[in-house]
Symmetry: C2
Subunit: 350 residues, 2 copies
Amino acid sequence: MEFNFEDHPHRRYNPLTNEWVQVSPHRAKRPWQGQVEKVDEEQRPEHDPNCYLCAGNTRINGEVNPDYKDTFAFQNDFAALLEEIPSGEVNEGNGLFKAKSERGLCKVICFSPRHDLTIPEMDVDGIRKVVDLWCKEYAELGARDYINYVQIFENKGAVMGCSNPHPHGQVWAQESLPLEPEKKQANQLAYFDKNGKTMLSDYIADELKQGTRVVYENEHFVALVPYWAVWPFETMIVPKRAVARVTDLTEEERDALADAYKSLTVKYDNIFQVSFPYSAGIHQAPTDGEDHPEWHMHMTFYPPLLRSATVKKFMVGYEMLANAQRDITAETAAARIREQSLTHYKSTVL
Amino acid sequence: MEFNFEDHPHRRYNPLTNEWVQVSPHRAKRPWQGQVEKVDEEQRPEHDPNCYLCAGNTRINGEVNPDYKDTFAFQNDFAALLEEIPSGEVNEGNGLFKAKSERGLCKVICFSPRHDLTIPEMDVDGIRKVVDLWCKEYAELGARDYINYVQIFENKGAVMGCSNPHPHGQVWAQESLPLEPEKKQANQLAYFDKNGKTMLSDYIADELKQGTRVVYENEHFVALVPYWAVWPFETMIVPKRAVARVTDLTEEERDALADAYKSLTVKYDNIFQVSFPYSAGIHQAPTDGEDHPEWHMHMTFYPPLLRSATVKKFMVGYEMLANAQRDITAETAAARIREQSLTHYKSTVL
Ligand SMILES: O=P(O)(O)O[C@H]1O[C@H](CO)[C@@H](O)[C@H](O)[C@H]1O
Ligand SMILES: O=P(O)(O)O[C@H]1O[C@H](CO)[C@@H](O)[C@H](O)[C@H]1O
């Protein structure tokens, strides 16, 4: 019997984080008797008078949203990070009790005034305005003296903790470099120092040659299921050019990113003919004033659905306490996403 | 204005993993309009003819469960790890495509024949039998040549991916040291080499002195919310003596562990008067044949509920892409757990 990566349990290495994932391809066959998710079939209005993100509505703190026409950003009324705090530090008990104050701020970014849309249902011009807003927020927040990292992300779907279906994302900006980008920075730096190229340039060159994990490609971006994917249909959108941060993208590349974002999410929705939940976000260079030629920005998608519109992968028990684990191979997932149409299942257009 | 760790956002350091958690104490005040969980109020029978874990029933593969009286272990019919696989390895593309076969096995361990019970509803004698089973499995599986680590864990509640309410846990045993215990091993080793004592001996000595995060204590164990807790009501049960693995516990200590396990989970259930979901598991020395004096075993609980029986903490977006984040302080959570009665809310006994 020969070892076979399609069938036999194995581990794969993630060079961006220096961590391994346990892959158990045969396991997808087990029957599922556990919790199933609700499918939200609700037909939403274009404007909802009770939505605190819709144009013209009043938010909980009394502020009135402007009558915005494309995107709109504001400071989160219940922010996890605050700007106006004094600084403080604890270091006691032989280094076992260490804490320090953390300054920052959190913004909400509305993608569209249309309450009834999601990214895959918006047109590319509208999504391009979202990309422009990311650039503006990254530049403005990153320019503040004390802000060293800007995390742009989107929680889509109730199962991903999203409490309002109005299309929106968030931006959290802060003093410290958070854990995930810190790992990716250290490993990209080591690779860059050794090879004089970004890790992801070499990686996507190989992926484009192999083709088995690529799910979409345009002139400037490739979308693929990484070799080391953890979530069932995890993907990343990577620029073909080694770009460290969104603000370094050319106009053409911004358009291409909007196109890739739409194309990938349309395919996602088509898999189970449901609005596909995920958390997505951009990993890019910190805003610490350094150049960071080692950074190759990328947008990562972590979608939880595994077998159907209602059965998700639970990252619990073994996964929380021991190691990330997945039940289908990256190649199987990629084939499934790739074969989906670029026309949204809800679309009435041919 | 002075910095105040009860109110102001800060980061705390986890010396076991060498990672920081973002703490945002003020954030618990935000209103929640997102997904709520179902409360399972179903009154279960003592024996369910359709349960594949109940005594005497036939499992999906045709095997018949014995008529067990306390605990029962068997190999998982849909195991993520398999014993009988050939070995294989990939290392290509300048180290960017690395994979290797992983041998192992997965067992299911039934805590009791009583379908209607959970750990907090079992008596300490019954739980002591579970502790004995952990010891047996750790010893037997760990003794196999190729098994270097044994992860014992429990997923409790549908929200934690548990697909059968019959009280049970799992044991996954494998070749490699998984990520979480690997991190804890490296940091405990560095501490031990430097200080000649286990990290957790020093840590719990300080915690017992301070008292603010301790939630339960008996002669041999302390249960506390770690200073660096991530999940809202995260706790760990730690032996007072530096014990590396369950099989090194004395008879008395095994009893005390059973008592601490029951007491903590009774308090958990009492917080929201609901069967409190969690993933829990034991981190302990690998079974690689080494001594591991640096290891101080502990049992960790990751419960997701935050505000009520139906509102959980979502670890999504920022948490997945950037950094672990929590909305209440460890001290607030500890006070809440500590004040709960040791009598289960469902109990009819005085
Ligand atoms: O093995 P079970 O109980 O069917 O499955 C559950 O626990 C496993 C181990 O934590 C996870 O991998 C699964 O995602 C979860 O649903
Ligand atoms: O800020 P929101 O959308 O209310 O909250 C959601 O996203 C946050 C950032 O990922 C998480 O911390 C919350 O747990 C989640 O419910």
